[in-house]
C-alpha cells in the first residue's frame, strides 16, 4: 500500500488514476505533475521509489486540492448568500443562477446549486 496525500492506495494502482481521484486534479494537472517528477503515463504506484512519492506528497500538500478546494468553493457560495446577492439566493434555493428559465429542465441546478455544493 502506498500513501499519497493521506490516502492509502494499492500498489498496482496507476499513478495517473490515483492522482486524478483527488478533487481538483484532472488530466492536465495530472500530466504536469507527472512530467515534473518524470513519471511515465502508464506507471503504477509500485514502480515509483519512495523519494519520488515523498516529493509528490510534498507538492500535493502545497496545492489547493480535494477538501481545501471544496471548502474554498463553499466559502465563495456562502459569501454570495451572506451578502444577499441574487446569485447567493438562487444558490440557496437550488435554482438556476445565470438567468436560465425555470419552467422546465432545472435538474442540474437542483442537483448542484446548494450552499454545500458537492463540487
Amino acid at each position: 500500500m502506498v500513501f499519497v496525500f493521506g490516502i492509502n492506495f494499492p500498489e498496482k494502482k496507476m499513478v495517473k488514476s490515483a492522482l486524478q481521484s483527488f478533487y481538483g486534479i484532472g488530466p492536465n494537472v495530472c500530466t504536469t505533475l507527472m512530467a515534473r517528477f518524470s513519471i511515465h503515463p502508464t506507471a503504477r504506484l509500485a514502480q515509483i521509489n519512495a523519494a519520488t512519492i515523498d516529493s509528490l506528497n510534498n507538492e500535493l500538500s502545497k496545492m489547493t486540492i480535494d477538501n481545501d478546494l471544496r471548502r474554498q468553493l463553499h466559502d465563495r457560495i456562502r459569501r454570495l448568500r451572506d451578502m444577499g446577492s441574487y446569485r447567493g439566493r438562487r444558490h440557496a434555493m437550488g435554482l438556476p443562477v445565470r438567468g436560465q428559465r425555470t419552467r422546465t429542465q432545472t435538474t442540474t441546478a437542483k442537483k448542484l446549486n446548494k450552499i454545500e455544493r458537492r463540487g
Binding site: 498496482k12 500530466t31 512530467a35 515534473r36 518524470s38 511515465h40 503515463p41 502508464t42 514502480q47
Partner: protein
C-alpha cells in the same frame, strides 16, 4: 365504397403514389389482416419442440465465463513466438546454416535451417517477431536471397580486415519486404562467427513512454535513463551471448557502487546489472567499455523500427515539452554509433531497419533515405533532395542521418520466389505443384516478390 376496397386504395396510394383516376384499374383483393404489433412476444417462435435443444444465449454465456485473464497473460499470448509446428512436414534435404555456406553465391535461392543454439540466441535477443510466419513450419528456416549473401560477404570482409572498421547501414524498403528478417539473418551470421550481438528489438518500446525514465543530473540537454528497460536489455545480452561472454573476463577498473570480483566473466557482470535497476545503466556503460577494449571480438549492434527514434518521444520533460528520442541515453548510445560519432574499436556493424507497418511519420528519415538513393545513383548538387529550409525540421535527426549507407530491400527475384514456394510446398503448406506458372502468378500477385505478401498469398489466404 366497401371498407375493404377503401383499405386497398389507401394502401396502394401510399405505396405507389398512383393518381386517383387509376385506382379503379387495380384488381380487387380482399383485405389482408395485417399484424400491427412487432413485440417480442409475437415474434418469438414459442418454446422449443420436444427433443430439440433451445439455442443457447451466447452473449449471456460469455459474460459468466470463468476467471478473468491474469495480469500479463494477454500480453504474453500476444507476444508469443512459436518456432516449431509438429503438424508441418519435415523438409527433406534442408541443410542447417553453416559458417562456410553463408557467403557463397551457390547458396542463393536456397532455404537454410537455423541451428539450435543460434535459434536460442536469436530468441533471447527477440529477433523473431510474433507477426512473422515461423509458426507454420517444422523448424525456423530462412531464405538466402541475394541481399543476404551481400550482407554475409560484408560481414566476412569486416572480420578479415587488419585494421578494424565500423560499417553503418540502414535497411529500408516497403512493408513486408523482409527488413526485420534481414536483421535476423545478420544476427544469425554474427552468432555463428562468434561476434557479440546487441539488439534493440523494437525502438518503439523505448520511445512510447511505457517504461520508466529518470533524468540524469547535470546533463545539458537533459538526458534520461530508462532503468528497467536497460536491466532487461542487459539480461538479454548476457543470455544471447553467453557462449562468448562467459569466456571473457573483466579487465578494467570500474567505478561502481558495489564491489565486483576483479576476474568476473562478462555475462555474470551483465547479470549483475540485470538484477539491480539502480546499477543497470552504469553497468551497461562499463560492459560497453569492456566489450570495446583491446582484444575483444567485433560487435553487431542492431535496432529495429528506426522511425521511432528519429522524432520526439512520447515522454515529457520537466518543462512539459516532449523529450527528443536522442535524449534517451540508450537511444543516444545507438544513434552515436549509427551516425559515426562513435566507432567500434574492434570493428563491427551497426545496423538499423525501418518499419513499414505502424509507421510513425519521420520526414527526416524519409529524406535521408531519398538522399542516399540519389547518392547511389550518382546524382550531385541540386539533384540530391534537400530539406525545405522554410519547413521546421528536426535538426538532430537530420545530422545523425547525414552520411549513411542505405541498403534498399526490394522484392524477391523469381528464382528466389521459386525457392521459397518450393519450401512451402515441401512443408505441406502449399498444396500445389510449384511450376513456372504458379511462381509467376504468386510473384506478380505479391507486388513483384514482396516476401510478406508472397507468404500471405500462398499460405494465409489459400482457397
Amino acid at each position: 365504397m366497401p371498407p375493404s376496397r377503401g383499405i386497398l386504395a389507401v394502401a396502394t396510394r401510399s405505396s405507389t403514389g398512383l393518381p386517383k383516376s387509376q385506382w379503379d384499374v387495380l384488381p380487387f383483393r380482399p383485405a389482408q389482416p395485417a399484424s400491427f404489433s412487432t413485440t417480442a412476444c409475437l415474434a418469438a417462435s414459442g418454446p422449443p419442440r420436444k427433443g430439440k435443444k433451445a439455442i443457447r444465449n451466447l452473449k449471456a454465456a460469455r459474460q459468466s465465463a470463468g476467471r478473468p485473464p491474469a495480469p500479463g497473460e494477454r500480453k504474453a499470448l500476444r507476444k508469443r513466438v512459436v518456432l516449431s509446428n509438429t503438424n508441418a512436414l519435415e523438409v527433406s534435404g534442408l541443410e542447417d546454416l553453416d559458417a562456410k555456406a553463408i557467403g557463397k553465391e551457390s547458396s542463393r535461392c536456397q532455404m537454410f535451417g537455423l541451428p539450435g543454439p543460434v535459434v536460442d540466441s536469436l530468441r533471447a535477443v527477440e529477433a523473431f517477431k510474433p507477426t512473422q510466419g515461423w509458426r507454420m513450419f517444422r523448424s525456423a528456416s530462412v531464405l538466402w536471397r541475394e541481399q543476404s549473401i551481400r550482407l554475409a560477404q560484408i560481414m566476412t570482409d569486416l572480420a578479415k580486415l587488419k585494421s578494424p572498421e565500423t560499417r553503418r547501414m540502414v535497411l529500408a524498403g516497403e512493408k513486408g519486404t523482409g527488413k526485420s528478417v534481414m536483421l535476423l539473418q545478420a544476427m544469425a551470421i554474427a552468432f555463428m562467427k562468434k561476434w557479440i550481438v546487441i539488439n534493440i528489438p523494437d525502438a518503439k518500446d523505448l520511445t512510447n513512454a511505457h517504461t520508466e525514465y529518470a533524468p540524469v543530473p547535470g546533463t545539458s540537454p537533459q538526458q534520461y535513463i530508462q532503468r528497467s528497460y536497460v536491466a532487461n536489455f542487459l539480461a538479454q545480452i548476457a543470455k544471447a551471448n553467453a557462449g562468448v561472454l562467459s569466456q571473457l573476463q573483466l579487465s578494467m577498473q570500474h567505478d561502481l557502487s558495489i564491489p565486483v570480483q576483479s576476474n568476473i566473466s562478462l555475462d555474470r557482470f551483465a547479470d549483475l546489472g540485470a538484477k539491480d535497476l539502480d546499477l543497470a545503466w552504469p553497468i551497461f556503460l562499463s560492459l560497453w567499455a569492456e566489450l570495446t577494449g583491446p582484444g575483444r571480438p567485433p560487435i553487431l549492434f542492431t535496432l529495429d523500427n528506426l522511425n521511432f527514434i528519429m522524432r520526439h518521444s512520447e515522454y515529457l520533460g520537466r518543462d512539459l515539452k516532449p523529450v527528443h528520442a536522442h535524449d534517451l541515453s540508450l537511444v543516444r548510445h545507438f544513434v552515436d554509433h549509427l551516425s559515426g560519432a562513435r566507432t567500434l574499436p574492434n570493428g563491427g556493424l551497426v545496423m538499423a531497419a525501418t518499419t513499414g507497418s505502424n509507421k510513425p511519420s519521420s520526414p527526416i528519415l524519409d529524406l535521408a533515405i531519398r538522399q542516399s538513393e540519389a547518392r547511389i545513383q550518382g546524382l550531385t548538387g541540386e539533384a540530391v533532395p534537400q530539406w525545405d529550409p522554410y519547413r521546421p525540421g528536426d535538426e538532430r535527426s537530420l545530422q545523425s542521418m547525414a552520411d549513411l549507407e542505405v541498403f534498399d530491400i526490394k522484392g524477391l527475384s523469381r528464382d528466389e520466389a521459386r525457392g521459397i514456394l518450393e519450401y512451402y510446398a515441401a512443408s505441406g503448406m502449399l498444396r500445389q505443384a510449384v511450376d513456372q506458372r504458379l511462381v509467376a502468378e504468386k510473384w506478380t500477385i505479391s507486388g513483384g516478390g514482396i516476401i510478406g505478401e508472397l507468404e500471405r498469398g500462398a499460405l494465409r489466404m489459400r482457397p
